[in-house]
Symmetry: C2
Subunit: 150 residues, 2 copies
DNA sequence: GTGAATGCAAACTCTTTGCATGACT
DNA sequence: AGTCATGCAAAGAGTTTGCATTCAC
């Protein structure tokens, strides 16, 4: 729980970068800050837009390069809900994570957690013939605002 | 079980197309045939390549248009395992389906089924604030051939 | 015969890469 | 100083779209 605060995550990322011998440059830390602020499930474009608004204009190439590095260092998680562009979100060292509800109508992406789900997936992971390193669950449907019952 | 045979699925697709007022043209039925033959989790490119090999060369645009239509009619399921291109597979009217194991090393995609997983997801779907219509589970890791223990 | 479907090519979006310039340690 | 990181612009991959032609019904 204490590891999930944005500030702590940012600290964690910066020290991880340092430990891995990477520089904490302006553009790179700006991207880290943007991810911390945007939180769950953002796109490269959203990050670039936010930074442009902050007059910290960072080139798209640098955004993508930063995301690739952060994912490789496992401090950012790449999530693919299948709408053409990849989504990214902070990854916490504790391993705690969530999954996503995607609205097919408006594209809204919401997070959820479920212990039973994690337990079943964990058990399942031991049974299959793969060496499982991670998992992703996406539930699709209509969000409260788009639901026909409204 | 009887609904999962490729031939039956093909029949089902053709009658669904007809019922929905769509024509069963050569290119379109060729795409349906390719999906039936390729089975689980294929890409638009693989379908086009197979058809080219069969001298039934169908333009990429037609492959994509057929896939879009078939998905809309719910006879094809689009699966996104997040490697740049979308994957497609037959969808059976019985609702039976599977999920995927993806090898991060070689890209190999394998199917699996798990009743416990389905049960948990079903229960979960009733609790969330979305009107859930479907779900997707992807387990990532190393396949038997890429596993370090080999 | 008529409207739907096709094929090609061009357009578009997202992402990656080459290369000269600039900045962190 | 030396190297790593940046930015731009061009290249690439996957997918979509416009439009004249063709084909199923």
């Amino acid at each position: 729980m204490s590891t999930t605060a944005p500030a702590q995550w940012t600290e964690h990322v910066l020290s991880t970068l340092d430990r891995a011998g990477h520089r904490s440059t302006g553009p790179r830390t700006a991207v880290v800050g943007a991810i911390a602020d945007l939180g769950c499930s953002t796109t490269a474009r959203e990050i670039a837009d936010l930074l442009r608004g902050r007059n910290a204009g960072v080139g798209m190439a640098s955004v993508y390069r930063a995301l690739e590095l952060l994912e490789r260092l496992k401090v950012v998680r790449r999530v693919d809900v299948g709408e053409g562009s990849a989504r990214y979100e902070p990854a916490y060292p504790s391993g705690e994570h969530h999954h996503h509800l995607v609205c097919d109508a408006c594209g809204n992406v919401t997070a959820f957690e479920d212990d039973d789900l994690e337990r079943v997936i964990h058990a399942l992971s031991r049974r299959v013939d793969f060496d499982i390193a991670g998992h992703e669950v996406t539930l699709r449907g209509a969000c409260p605002l788009c639901s026909p019952s409204r």
